[in-house]
């Protein structure tokens, strides 16, 4: 199967400073991958590199097996949709009209129907006619997620989709993205909430200073070594009845792997 998104040894410099350095990642249809990392670790740059929004210094970015730079605007939009971190909306348009921008190439009546449906899924049906600038930041965020879903693109890339949302809305939105994944879409999101990431993502990629320091299932990746390298945090993943929880505190001393246990022979038992 062709990966929906493929990054191969991607390096990006911004303002002469390396921001991404040799990062590789593949996101397959049907899976949801989370990008974790401290502020400035290169998460957003990774998403933008994947979408062809900036020039790669090294490596390659492919959407559905094709180099992203070789795609026309229309082809790229049919392969991937993006929710940037910036939630500002230029004008006070009603929510449904903003969500309908996800279906901009469809007939107006269809676009409106798709938009209203997407708004209902993010719990915003009642506010469909309200101006997006008369909303709270979280409500506006949900409207923008509705627009993302309304695109129906096979790859959804969202920069902090859970930012500014109340706890229930966070689960709602991540659940919606999971639903899209179950329907065969590939999902790539950046997240700051480690517990939310552990619960909603199939795989996690962890960045530290532009390098990949972890890649794998949440249980594999969220170990003390990676938490220390990426965030300078002490912590561990604990499985509770509600799901996995990442318990962390600020590191008191840099993490060192435990000394290897000396071989214990059967005689010593």
């Amino acid at each position: 199967m062709t990966a929906a998104l493929e990054l191969i040894g991607v390096g990006v410099d911004l303002a002469g400073r390396p921001v991404l350095d040799g990062v590789s990642l593949a996101v397959e249809p049907g899976e949801m991958v989370g990008v974790l990392g401290a502020n400035g670790s290169g998460k957003t740059t990774l998403l933008r590199a994947a979408l062809g929004l900036l020039r790669l210094k090294r490596g390659a970015a492919r959407l559905a097996g094709r180099p992203v730079g070789a795609l026309s605007e229309g082809e790229r939009a049919s392969l991937a949709a993006y929710l940037p971190q910036e939630r500002r909306i230029g004008w006070n348009m009603p929510a449904w009209r903003v969500a309908a921008l996800g279906a901009v190439n469809r007939p107006p009546a269809t676009a409106r129907r798709v938009a209203l449906d997407a708004l209902a899924r993010v719990g915003m049906a009642a506010l469909a006619e309200r101006g997006v600038r008369d909303m709270s930041g979280g409500e506006r965020g949900r409207v923008l997620i509705a627009r993302l879903i309304a695109t129906g693109a096979p790859l959804l890339i969202a920069d902090e989709p859970a930012a500014g949302l109340d706890p229930d809305a966070q689960f709602l939105v991540m659940g919606l993205l999971r639903e899209r994944a179950a329907a065969g879409a590939a999902i790539l999101v950046t997240l700051h909430d480690l517990t939310l990431a552990a619960r909603s993502c199939d795989r996690l990629v962890v960045l530290a200073a532009g390098r990949r320091v972890g890649l794998g299932s949440p249980a594999e990746v969220l170990n003390p070594e990676v938490l220390s390298a990426a965030f300078g945090l002490e912590g561990e993943l604990i499985v509770t009845r509600a799901g996995p929880v990442i318990a962390v505190r600020r590191e008191t001393a840099p993490y060192r792997p435990p000394p290897p246990t000396p071989f214990a022979g059967p005689n010593e038992a």
């Binding site: 933008r48 605007e73 939009a77 049919s78 993006y82 910036e86 230029g90 009209r97 921008l101 101006g131």
Partner: protein, 326 residues
């Protein structure tokens, strides 16, 4: 649609009023005569003086209103308009240079072409700056600078102008007026204005998408580069047409979109057409005011719009600053 029909009706009524009213009072019999025989003296007043003047005001107002709506949508900035961003000033500079240089008489259409060239040049510069500096405030500051530069160079033209006559002509022209325009002038202004209007209409869906920011628009699948170029070229052609026809008329482009925003739920695409109509209404009304207020020297149209427009600009800036902070 109902909004457009209402505005169009209001515009037609206002133009009719502009034809009916004037400095020279006419009797009922003279009106009848004007309709029966357009070549009669009363007919001359109505159809060769007042009618083209009212239509010219409507055309200039529509061009500026549409240019303002397109620029505000393109730049996601409620303070954008051809005047604020310096497009009018540079356009005026082009025309002033031609008038003072004595080329206006030598080459027919030189003023119009120079005004258009100035508008296109400034429009291109604004887009270049808008791509580099994303904050709305920054762009307005560049607009102020561009405006000041245009004004300074126009002052230089005054300074170096050899004849008092030419200086006077430039000054009169800069104040903005649609007095003594004939049907030929209107036809000439339509040449850039019609394609300009078509380009902005084409750009409409791009303007709506731009409300979500550059990156979302770039990935929306719309041909954004083409739509953006169409919006700029359209706005510049419209501004050039307006400046060529009537000189510098401020604030209509700024005000018109704000007067219709509420009725079209702030949608930048649907703001375009009603902005053109309301711009036309504003300017026909302003010209009526200029004509009918009894002063020794007739008020210039640009002076009237600036007197009403400048306070409005302050009000819009006040309201816009709140949303920038949000």
């Amino acid at each position: 649609m109902r909004l457009l029909a209402l505005l169009a009706l209001a515009l037609v009524l206002l133009i009719a009023l502009g034809v009916a009213l004037g400095e020279t009072p006419l009797s009922a019999r003279q009106y009848a005569q004007a309709f029966a025989d357009p070549a009669s003296p009363a007919g001359e007043v109505l159809w060769s003086l007042r009618a083209p003047r009212a239509v010219a005001a409507a055309l200039v107002g529509a061009a500026l209103g549409l240019a303002g709506a397109a620029m505000q949508g393109l730049l996601r900035n409620p303070l954008a308009d051809p005047g604020v961003l310096g497009v009018s000033a540079v356009s005026a500079l082009g025309a002033a240079t031609v008038i003072a240089g004595g080329l206006a008489l030598a080459i027919p259409g030189a003023i119009e072409l120079a005004a258009l060239a100035g508008a296109l040049l400034a429009g291109g510069l604004v887009v270049f700056l808008a791509a580099r500096f994303r904050q709305p405030e920054t762009l307005i500051l560049f607009g102020v600078a561009l405006s000041a530069m245009g004004g300074a160079l126009t002052a230089l033209v005054f300074n170096l102008s050899p004849s008092l006559m030419a200086t006077n002509e430039v000054l009169n022209w800069l104040l903005g007026s649609v007095a003594n325009r004939d049907w030929g002038d209107i036809a000439a202004a339509l040449i850039p204005a019609v394609p300009g209007a078509a380009l902005t209409a084409y750009a409409g869906r791009g303007l709506r998408m731009l409300a979500l920011g550059e990156e979302t628009a770039a990935l929306s699948g719309l041909p954004m580069a083409r739509l953006r170029a169409a919006a700029v070229a359209g706005a510049a052609l419209l501004t050039g047409a307006a400046v060529a026809m009537a000189g510098v008329i401020g604030f209509v482009g700024l005000a018109a979109p704000h007067l219709v925003r509420g009725a079209v739920s702030d949608d930048p695409a649907r703001t375009l057409a009603p902005s053109a109509l309301i711009g036309a209404i504003l300017l026909v009304a302003a010209d009526l005011v200029a004509r009918l207020i009894p002063t020794d020297e007739e008020l210039k149209l640009g002076v009237v719009t600036a007197l009403f427009g400048a306070p409005l600009f302050a009000l819009v800036a006040w309201r816009a600053s709140r949303s920038w902070r949000a």
